[in-house]
Symmetry: C2
DNA sequence: TCTAAGACCTCAAGCAACTTGAGATGCAAG
DNA sequence: CTTGCATCTCAAGTTGCTTGAGGTCTTAGA
């Protein structure tokens, strides 16, 4: 038996990272900022985790994937304590976030259109070799509303 | 006559900021990192600009609005020197960027769907008051593919 | 002519959310 | 016993600025 004291099936930070889908320094960082509790340490000083850590960290990773900030994530995590009404509070946070996501989507859509027009114009005007008359770059230097060439 | 030496119609950083649509510290920052040239100084030490600065800074601002990184912007700016083929090189940078914009859009679309499902589920399950049986927060702690409630 | 507001100056630190690096230690296999 | 990987801590770097402190310059009003 070489296991740590009282460690049924605990594992170390590298395993946790692999199982929860994040990096080792990220886990240490989350601990440092108090997003996850301080890990128990074995005699070697290495952090020891169990399955509940995978769940928590997975939860956090999904929140982050959803684009919640760390502080939003912290709020949602602290809600997940079984209190009634916690669900509604989480919903409000999500709804707020949904609004910004939708705004960001509209911006990106706009951006996508502008960029693809730029690329198309460049291609059709200059594809056959150096086009000394191409004014695209010069046009970019003008007010966008007045740019005749593209974008 | 109170004008600076050799200043026909030069103006200061605050005016430039207003006319180019960015903040004063941003201009100083751009100068510091060499994205724009070091401004001429009047006897007082204040920076002096002319119209060409508005053009350059406006160009940069539009690149940044388009989501180009500073380094991409720097590359595009350095292309805008009238060389032939510069246009095609700018196009390649834009095309590269367009690809990442499209990827980001798809991610956001996914995110939007997940979030709105979460919000809807919370609302319909819990809207009539505390719903002790709501499992949404608990579900979030499960693997996403197995989440029965929402998200 | 004085004065007070506001614009400007520099330098330094702060922000998110990590990542990267240095230098030391632990641990398991050959 | 050594080698090589995982871990540890602490510090600094990343991006693209923003904010703050503390000081100078300019300008309009009294």
């Amino acid at each position: 038996m070489r296991t740590e004291p009282s460690a049924g099936n605990s594992f170390r930070i590298g395993d946790l990272a692999r199982r929860a889908g994040c990096s080792v320094p990220t886990i240490r960082y989350y601990e440092e900022i108090g997003l996850i509790p301080r890990a128990a340490r074995g005699s070697s000083g290495h952090r020891a985790y169990d399955n509940s850590a995978i769940e928590l960290l997975g939860f956090i990773r999904r929140c982050r994937d959803f684009g919640f900030t760390i502080e939003q994530t912290r709020a949602i995590v602290s809600l997940a304590d079984g209190r009634s009404r916690a669900c509604l509070e989480a919903r409000d946070i999500a709804q707020e976030h949904l609004k910004t996501v939708r705004e960001k989507m509209l911006e990106l859509l706009d951006l996508e259109r502008s960029l693809s027009r730029f690329v198309d114009a460049c291609t059709s005007l200059c594809a056959d070799g150096p086009a000394p008359k191409c004014t695209i770059l010069r046009d970019l230097g003008l007010k966008r509303s007045r740019a005749g060439c593209c974008v």
